[in-house]
């Protein structure tokens, strides 16, 4: 699998797939799973990332999502964007079906 958290990554966010329908979700600053990457909380530094992942995985997390993990994001002007092609595609939808996935609603 193309991997997520690059060693030495400065900025990271937490993502998972929602249990009921597999939808890609992100952990947000107000402590819930949201569908849009733009609402994801961004952790700066390794300690902040660990703390973020811990918050995203309370005792009952399995009742809501599958397999939360950290992935690297990059600063892009005043915004952030996923570092890998994989996470870019997860955040948007299939590049071969622009009518499907999150990008369809955008």
């Amino acid at each position: 699998m193309a991997q997520h958290a690059a060693k030495g990554a400065r900025f990271q966010a937490v993502t998972a797939n929602r249990l009921s329908d597999g939808e890609v979700v992100y952990w947000s600053a107000d402590n819930r799973w949201v569908e849009g990457f733009t609402e994801a909380e961004i952790a700066d530094g390794a300690d902040a990332a660990d703390a973020l992942l811990a918050r995203a995985m309370p005792a009952d997390f399995e009742a809501h999502v599958l397999e939360p993990y950290l992935f690297e994001v990059l600063e892009d002007g005043s915004f952030y964007k996923p570092a890998s092609v994989r996470e870019t595609i997860r955040a948007a939808g299939p590049t071969v079906r622009l009518d499907l996935g999150k990008q369809a609603g955008a």
Binding site: G22, V85, R86, I89, P94, V96
Partner: protein, 550 residues
């Protein structure tokens, strides 16, 4: 065609209601993902990048029209209006919601379909020749023994926890269209000098991380003894197959490490024990019962030539091209095999919309004695079309973007879902297939290039068969960026071979140019009548490498 008996109906119904309970317990939080994952995988439910994916079995690639219609209905109701035909003659849905899957499976069961044996370390859905029962010079319809194997292997207690998944393919024709030598077990139906039907058995083929062409284990097992022989292979595998390392757990590794002769000896010894007990000898009545399901359909007696057919080609160059590329001679006078390419120029290989599937179901019902076939090259087939009807079938297909006349040509590529959908991918496969097909869109150029099989996988698991493409393309990941490695000289037919890597990988920007370089190297150097694979086999890698890396 095979119809469920009561036992099958009950088994599938029980399995769906059991899964419904499991899904409810997972959604309520009573089951953890670790507990649930093996259960969902046993029912064909994977997690991809954007959603769950459901893989539905199409045993030996044969469908009735009502089944195709149901697949269309499911695409419409539970998915997003399309689905994907795979290299294992199965169909995948990319967006079903977990809590709706039990309902979906209930609907599927009404047409005798299910998702059993589509994942997990069991004997997977048996695959076969898409021209079964339609092509001339077939020794016997390969679906007969495929069905016998299916019945023996489904839920066989010894085979539920194999070291790894296990795939079997069968061909009844000397031209192998089922890639049997790339399966854990590949079977060729044979007739001996006494006129008896039996089977040549190859073991230990496979793709993935360490590809191997299967080794021949025996020239001839009599028909009634085949299950005993296969059971012997499975027992040797169950005893000696490695369970410590999933990368080394496939039978191909066991055969490779044990050697062909020693493996033959082990299997023969086990076979002798099983055979002595006679337990697995298939009774003649049972063979007859299953053979009856695959009795030839009600062909009409027709003249070998059709004036309508000849005139349609003369009148319309597009029809003539379609016939030339996609229509194959039938064993029955007055009939033809019509291939439906799911590779429109710039399209997604193997995808079909719900409307297209409905159109194909109607064509099967009205013009192909109710049958559709799925090919491992991700196309569909109407196996029994009257020559008189080919033009009407062509018109209906053309009206729904289903008449691309490119079968076996450079734009008829295999591509796995890759990084657009797949959780394990390193790189995208589909956009590359699209760009290559756009680059070579001109059909006349494609006919000039001739038979050329490009196969693309988004990672080393090789779902897109890249190892056995005449030109294979493998997506690799370098620090989060996509790269593509080319291999040449692979083949998936009766002359199966694993391709050789050309050298360093290409960037996304350069890969299509590199493919064009390979193709022009071939067209520059080919001798009269040589296909790409012939030229490669004559000249080897050197001239291609030279042009690629200068």
């Amino acid at each position: 065609m095979y119809r469920y008996d009561e036992f099958d109906h009950q088994l599938v119904a029980d399995r769906v209601s059991q899964f419904r309970g499991q899904v409810e317990r997972r959604v309520s939080g009573a089951l953890t993902e670790d507990q649930f994952k093996p259960l969902r995988l046993m029912n064909g439910v994977y997690l991809q990048l954007h959603a769950y994916m459901l893989r539905v079995a199409i045993p030996y690639g044969t469908l009735r029209s009502e089944q195709m219609r149901m697949l269309a209905h499911i695409a419409r109701k539970y998915d997003r209006g399309y689905s994907h035909f795979t290299t294992r003659q199965n169909i995948q849905y990319n967006w079903p919601a977990l809590d709706k899957i039990p309902d979906l499976l209930d609907e599927l069961a009404t047409v005798e379909m299910h998702a059993i044996q589509t994942s997990g370390n069991c004997i997977r859905n048996v695959t076969s020749d898409q021209y079964a029962g339609a092509i001339a010079d077939e020794v016997e319809d390969p679906r007969i023994i495929s069905e016998i194997i299916r019945q023996w292997s489904t839920f066989h207690p010894e085979f539920t926890y194999l070291p790894r998944k296990f795939k079997i393919a069968v061909t009844g024709h000397e031209n192998d269209r089922a890639a049997i030598k790339l399966h854990d077990i590949g079977i060729v139906v044979k007739q001996n000098s006494a006129g008896e039907i039996g089977y040549e058995v190859h073991v230990g083929g496979g793709q993935g991380r360490t590809p191997f062409v299967a080794k021949k284990m025996t020239d001839f097992v009599p028909k009634e003894k085949l299950l005993a022989y296969l059971e012997a292979v499975m027992r040797v595998y169950n005893m000696l197959g490695r369970r410590d390392n999933s990368y080394k757990a496939r039978i191909k590794i066991l055969v490779h490490e044990t050697g062909q002769e020693e493996m033959q000896r082990l299997v023969e010894a086990e076979f002798a024990k099983i055979d002595a007990s006679d337990m697995l000898t298939v009774p003649q009545e049972e063979i007859d019962r299953i053979s009856a399901y695959f009795a030839p359909p009600a062909f009409e007696t027709l003249p070998a030539e059709s004036e309508t057919f000849t005139q349609a080609q003369a009148a319309d160059a597009d029809v003539a091209r379609f016939v030339r590329a996609n229509v194959v001679a039938h064993k029955q006078a007055g009939y033809a095999i019509v291939n439906i390419s799911l590779k429109p120029i710039g399209g997604v290989p193997g995808d079909a919309t719900d409307t297209q599937m409905d159109v194909i179901a109607d064509l099967a019902e009205n013009h192909s004695l109710d049958e559709v076939r799925v090919t491992h090259e991700q196309n569909l087939v109407l196996p029994h079309v009257k020559l008189d009807d080919v033009k009407a079938v062509y018109d209906a297909l053309a009206a729904h973007e289903l008449a691309t006349a490119n079968l076996g040509l450079i734009s008829d590529q295999i591509a796995c879902p890759g990084l657009d959908y797949c959780n394990l991918a390193n790189a995208r496969s589909i956009p590359l297939a699209q760009e290559i097909s756009e680059r070579f869109a001109d059909l006349d150029r494609q006919y000039d290039i001739g038979e050329l099989k490009i196969k693309i996988s988004g990672c080393i698991n090789a779902c897109g068969h890249h190892h056995v493409g005449h030109i294979g393309i493998l997506g690799v990941d370098k620090k989060g960026t996509e790269f593509y490695q080319i291999s040449l000289g692979g083949a998936a037919d009766e002359n199966a071979a694993i391709g050789q890597i050309t050298g360093r990988a290409f960037t996304e920007e350069d890969i299509v140019d590199a493919i064009e370089t390979v193709v022009t190297t071939y067209t520059d150097l080919r001798a009269d009548g040589e296909r790409f694979i012939d030229t490669y086999n004559r000249l080897g890698m050197a001239p291609f490498k030279e042009r690629l890396y200068d």
